[in-house]
């Protein structure tokens, strides 16, 4: 569990995080979403005690990160895949970190296998690709078998197979009851991975809600019927909001496909098409952050 209260970080010229209060619960993958410069990384750095907040607090498992007795056994972090000394081998890098928290060295071999960097474990990390760096960074985060994971853009630079692997891994970690916080600006990835969303814009909290709720807000059912007006009336009587589409089909909000189908059946009306229309996270997110985008693209 990560608790952030009134977190504010002001730099000389701008406010990176502005009075952010949010709780990240265990047992699910929480996506931290926002455009570039919205305060995602600063928030994560404050959680990890790397950056000192101007005001407010961030605690992990009830304590400030800097007061944790065994930080790597509590929290695994991946802030920057390039954060490593290029002259060390992957094994030496992980060994240094394991030793600093008295984690047994056999765990180094375990995480190397787990993230699949076995073949290059004894090569200097200078030549590692971004994707390899991500795997190494994740190995470091998992060294202490932590209860909480804080990962900044972990799929950046991974190939499709790696992205899928990362998604399943995060899913498993959350299912084991751990707290998983993942920052990303990749919508499709978030949609496939996160259960819960925390959306930031210009350092402020824009939304803190389950993924389903955000997508559900923009969900609808499209239904096509030769008796459209009769069906519309039946649906409205049953409590749905109904609109006519240009092609004559009905746009129904407030009901799912089963309910719409049942209403049609009970009213004895024929149905030619019945489709659940989900908003993509991207469109839902864009609607949410429209006003908050700091760097607007100039319309052509």
């Amino acid at each position: 569990m990560i608790e952030i209260e009134g977190l504010t970080k002001a730099y000389r010229s701008r406010i990176a995080v502005d009075d952010l209060t949010v709780t990240v619960e265990p047992g699910r993958v929480t996506g931290l979403l926002g455009p570039h410069g919205s305060g995602k990384t600063t928030t994560m750095r404050c959680i990890l005690g790397l950056t000192r907040p101007t005001a407010g607090t961030a605690t992990v498992l009830g304590r400030p990160y800097r007061k944790l007795a065994q930080p790597m056994r509590r929290v695994g972090a991946l802030i920057d895949p390039r954060a490593r000394h290029g002259g060390r081998t992957a094994y030496a890098h992980l060994r240094v970190l394991a030793e600093s928290n008295a984690v047994p060295l056999r765990r180094v071999d375990e995480v190397i296998e787990l993230v699949g960097i076995g073949p290059v474990a004894h090569e200097r990390v200078r030549g590692f690709s971004l994707g390899m760096g991500q795997r190494l960074g994740l190995a470091a985060a998992l060294l202490g078998d932590p209860d909480v994971l804080v990962l900044d853009e972990p799929v950046n630079g991974l190939d499709p197979e790696g992205i899928r692997w990362m998604r399943e891994l995060l899913r498993d970690l959350a299912d084991e009851g751990r707290t998983v916080l993942v920052a990303s600006h990749l919508m499709s990835e978030m949609e496939a991975t996160a259960d819960h969303l925390v959306v930031l814009g210009q350092g402020r909290l824009l939304a803190d809600l389950p993924m389903i709720d955000l997508l559900g807000r923009h969900a609808a059912v499209r239904v096509r019927s030769p008796q459209a007006s009769l069906l519309a009336r039946a649906l409205e009587r049953a409590g749905a909001a109904v609109d006519y589409e240009p092609d004559g089909s009905l746009w129904v909000e407030g009901m799912d496909v089963i309910e719409v189908g049942d209403v049609a059946y009970l009213s004895g009306l024929r149905v030619h098409e019945l489709t659940q229309v989900t908003a993509s996270l991207e469109s839902a997110y864009l609607a949410l952050t429209e006003d908050a985008r700091e760097y607007q693209a100039v319309p052509l």
């Binding site: 750095r45 790397l50 007795a69």
Partner: protein, 249 residues
């Protein structure tokens, strides 16, 4: 909750850090070769010396420039953490920052001292075998032992000074420049300019060669020399620790 991580674990990690980069081995090799080589050559070129401590002093000449390598070693141990971004990971792993700096300093200082112990033995052997001293040269001579001990102590303090400079300045170029100026350029430059104040100032800077026979810098007694380098090392280190605690990474 299990107990907190023991300090020796952090020290072990810092030792692994130091020995897993090539720079450490390059610096150590250059240090051993320059100081040992210079000492042996100086001894070989000197036939006789009036006293044992003069003979040993000749053989220790190489430390005058050689210890500069220890400045490089100590500075790199800190600044490469910041230049590579490793500091993010290191400080997330050990968020008690002063603890991390103490462990790193300990490892660097002990490594500097160990290399120097090896070197003073080589230099003493060179003096003993190459330079004729009336009455012979006993290794138990207190003047000889003091000269050797001072080099070891000064080497450890140089390591501490370098780590401190690295923590204050964070950039390799900046910290190396400052270190070079403090221990290598300013002391002789001021001493050679000759004014009273300049000479006093030169004596108050941590020149590498501790003792009466300061390398090109204004000479001091060994007590003053050690006090000066210790004061600089402590001051730089404390400032480095305070800044490390305060600043964001």
């Amino acid at each position: 909750m299990r107990g907190k991580v023991p300090f020796r674990a952090v020290v072990r990690s810092e030792w692994s850090k130091l020995r897993s980069v090539r720079a450490t081995w390059w610096c150590s090799a250059v240090y051993l070769l320059t100081v040992g080589g210079a000492g042996w050559l100086a001894a070989a070129g000197t036939d006789t010396a009036p006293r044992a401590d003069v003979a040993i002093s000749t053989a220790l000449t190489g430390f005058g420039v050689g210890q500069l390598v220890l400045v490089v070693l100590g500075v790199l141990a800190v600044t490469t953490e910041f230049s590579s971004g490793m500091a993010l990971v290191s400080l997330a792993a050990v968020p008690r920052r002063t603890r991390l700096l103490v462990a790193k300093t300990l490892v660097v200082a002990v490594w500097c001292a160990l290399l120097t112990v090896l070197l003073v033995v080589v230099c003493a052997l060179a003096a003993r075998t190459q330079i004729a001293v009336p009455g012979g040269m006993s290794m138990r001579n207190p003047d000889v032992l003091r000269a050797l001990g001072l080099q070891v102590g000064a080497a450890a303090l140089t390591g501490v000074l370098a780590v401190g400079l690295g923590a204050v300045l964070r950039s390799t170029a900046g910290a190396l420049g400052a270190g070079l100026a403090l221990v290598m350029l300013l002391p002789p430059a001021l001493a050679l300019s000759g004014g009273w104040w300049q000479v006093r100032l030169s004596q108050a800077l941590p020149a590498l060669r501790v003792g009466e026979d300061a390398f090109l810098a204004a000479a001091t007694t060994w007590q003053v020399g050690m006090a000066v380098i210790a004061a600089w090392a402590v001051a730089a280190w404390v400032l480095g620790a305070v800044l490390l605690e305060r600043r964001d990474v």
